[in-house]
Each structure stands twice: as C-alpha cells, then as structure tokens.
Symmetry: C2
Subunit: 230 residues, 2 copies
C-alpha cells in the first residue's frame, strides 16, 4: 500500500503518530481485524477468504498475510480479541462487587456476567462477533472450539465461586450446570436467529436491547435460585 494512502487513512481516523513505529501499523492491523470479524461472521470460516477480508479492509492481501500469516491465525486473533474484551468487562464488574466493601446480591453477579456482551452488541463489529462466536460452536474446524473458548474458562469458574458464596445451598455441580445453561441462554439470544420475532409474530423484538437484558436477567436469576436438584 502506498505511504500516501496509509497516511490519509491514519489522518482520517485521528490516529496519532508514534515515533519509532511503522506508520499506521496498529491502525491497518485493527482495520483488517475489524473487516475479518464481519466477513467471518457473514460467511463462516470455511467460505471466508483473506482476499475478501483484504478487499473489505481496503488493503492488499499481501498486507493481511504480512500481519497474520494465515486465515487461521487471523481468525483466532479476531476471536480472542473480543472474547478477552468480554472477559475483562465481566471480571471488572465482578471484582467491583466481590472486592468492594458492601454485600452484593446474586442478581448483581448475574448482571455482571450478562452485561458486557450487551455492551459490545451495540456496535456493528461487536454484534458480528457475537454471531460469529455462535457460529463457531459448530463451524469448521470444530476442534478449535474448545481451545478458543478456554479464554472464558477461568472467569466462568470465578462466577461459579461468587454464586456459591451467595447461594451456598447450591451444590457445586448444580452451579456448574446452571452457569452453562446461562451461557446457552445468552449465546442463543445473541445469535440473530430471530426465533423470538418468528414465534411471537413480531410482538417481541431482539433489537430492543433494554428489554432483552431485563428479560434475560429475570430469567437467569429465576433459574439460578431454583431449588437444587436432588
């Protein structure tokens, strides 16, 4: 890519010049990742190509290869970037509760779990990622799933621990089952499958994010405080 064009793009985005760093590098890298997020989400991994991603990012395919080496590495970086953003948002909220001076409620803990994904859903790229993540559950190659989702594991266990602190009547097993049910509820909600609109014949809309979050919080809290199974 000619330097003049890169400079123009950098200027447009207001990216400050950092001395000692290839001009526009961070910016081009991020722009490729943003484009990849949307393309993978729309086409799935198998059908997406680095050529298409390069075109969408308005860079050469050589630049995509220079930064990421392969479609696989690009995919993984895109996934991990957003997953880490969600994990960070969850843990910040959780730690504000568990490390704060005041007692906290189960409802607050579950809100801390749910809210970060809603926050990122408000952006185009974020929404694309949530669909992508869903898609990944059974897209090719499935062997990646477990290793990528590992990003979430430790934080999920922290939530289970916090839940059991407030609801000690729940066995550890039951708390694990329930956090996974919550993951299912949450993942499906963000899958853009439009089941809600279809079944309700348009009486409800998953585009109403306030309503979606409120409904999700009530449902998962009810499920979490249900009597333990024995």
């Amino acid at each position: 890519m000619p330097r003049a064009k890169k400079s123009a793009l950098r200027k447009k985005a207001g990216n400050p010049r950092r001395p000692g760093r290839p001009e526009g590098e961070t910016f081009a890298r991020e722009r490729i990742m943003n484009a990849a997020e949307v393309v993978f989400s729309e086409l799935g991994y198998a059908r997406a190509s680095t050529g298409e991603i390069a075109a969408r990012a308005k860079v050469t395919q050589a630049l995509v290869n220079y930064y990421f080496g392969s479609k696989e590495r690009l995919f993984k970086e895109v996934y991990v970037r957003r997953a880490n953003e969600i994990v960070k948002g969850r843990l910040e909220r959780l730690h504000a509760l568990t490390r704060g001076a005041n007692p906290f409620t189960l409802s607050q803990v579950l809100s801390a779990y749910l809210e970060p994904a809603f926050a990122i859903r408000r952006t185009r790229g974020g929404r694309a990622f949530l669909r992508l993540q869903w898609r990944l559950l059974h897209s090719e190659p499935p062997r990646w799933g477990a290793s990528l989702r590992k990003v979430y594991d430790d934080s999920a266990r922290e939530f289970v621990a916090a839940i059991r602190e407030i609801a000690p009547q729940l066995s550890e097993q039951t708390a694990y089952w329930r956090i996974v049910f919550i993951i299912g509820t949450y993942a499906y909600m963000h899958s853009d499958t439009h089941r809600l609109e279809q079944i309700s014949r348009g009486a409800c809309s998953a585009n109403d994010l306030e309503q979606m979050l409120a409904q999700a919080k009530a449902f998962v809290l009810g499920g979490m405080i249900a009597p333990d199974v024995q």
Copy 2:
C-alpha cells in the same frame, strides 16, 4: 444395488414386504436419510457431499439422486423428519395434560417441552440431529434457517398459551421471551460443545442424561416463574 443385497438388508431390519411397492424402497430411503443425518452433522452442509452420504449408506450416488434429487432437498427432508418427531412428542405430551381431566402444573408443561429431545438423544442418529440443528443456526446457507425452524412455530405458540393459562401473571411478551430462552438453554445443552465438562473440569458430564434433564427442568421452571419484568 443388486436385489439380493437389498433383500438381505431388508430382512436384517425386519422390514415387512409390502405388495405393489418396489422392494426395499422405504428402507433404502430411510437408510440414506439416516446416513445423511450423521454426515451433515459431522461435516456441516457445505462440506457434506451426496457421494459421502451414499458411501455411508452403502448405496450408489445415483440412488441418492433418484430419491432426493439434490443435496438441498435431502438436507431439508432429514431436518423436517426429526423436527416433526420432536414436535409430535411435545404435542402428545402437552395435549395429554391440557385435554385431560386433571389440573396440570407448569413443571409438567415444561417437561413436555423438554423430554422429546432427550428421548431422541439416546440414539446415535438423534444425537447427530440435535448437533446438526444447532449447527444449522448459523451454517450455510443461513436463509434456510427461518423456513426450516417454522416446523416448530405452532407448537411453540401452543406451549406459550398453556404456560399463560397456568401462569396468567406473565404478560404475553414475557412468556415469548422465556420460551425463547428455554429454546436457547435446550439447544445449547444438546450442542455437544462440552462447555460443562470444560468449565467444571470434568465434575459434571452432559452424558449423564438423567442429570441433564433434571437440571434443565429445575432451571427453566425457575426462570419461567420468575417475577415478570416491568
């Protein structure tokens, strides 16, 4: 396929000879669909081929084309066959409650919704279908999703009506949100993503179907009876 082989297979499966019908037709057709269910589930729609399906079903590819015409039609038939089986199981259970002489509970209605999928999960083909269905949520081509899932729509609305009969305090909107959350919980549970095992470090297993069903029932009942959102 030579006649002798077809007869032997028919005999093995105990399929009775029906006069006036090409020998083994139903059987070969079903065997192709059973193979297709597994192949689509393992490879996804895009990567599955009728050649692979024919090989798995031990028939010629010409026979697959003869019965189904195209991969697309085969896929849709496989989907609709199982979806109808689940819908039938749900409605039989639901009608036994709503058309019976005795009062029924919300717990019974939700069990009627959840149980049929657990029943089919006990078979290899059924389990493959549940994965496949999950996969379809965002596999290519996504435009099919809504039309295929329509198979479930009327029965989902019947469940919403039955739920509101027992829980009239829930608004219609809330009942729709909650049935969709239950669909998410249920779909994820059958997705074989192994999140439960991964997060719990093996303390829980989604292969324990009794436990899974009991846990799911408790969770969705708790979610359904949670105070309405306003």
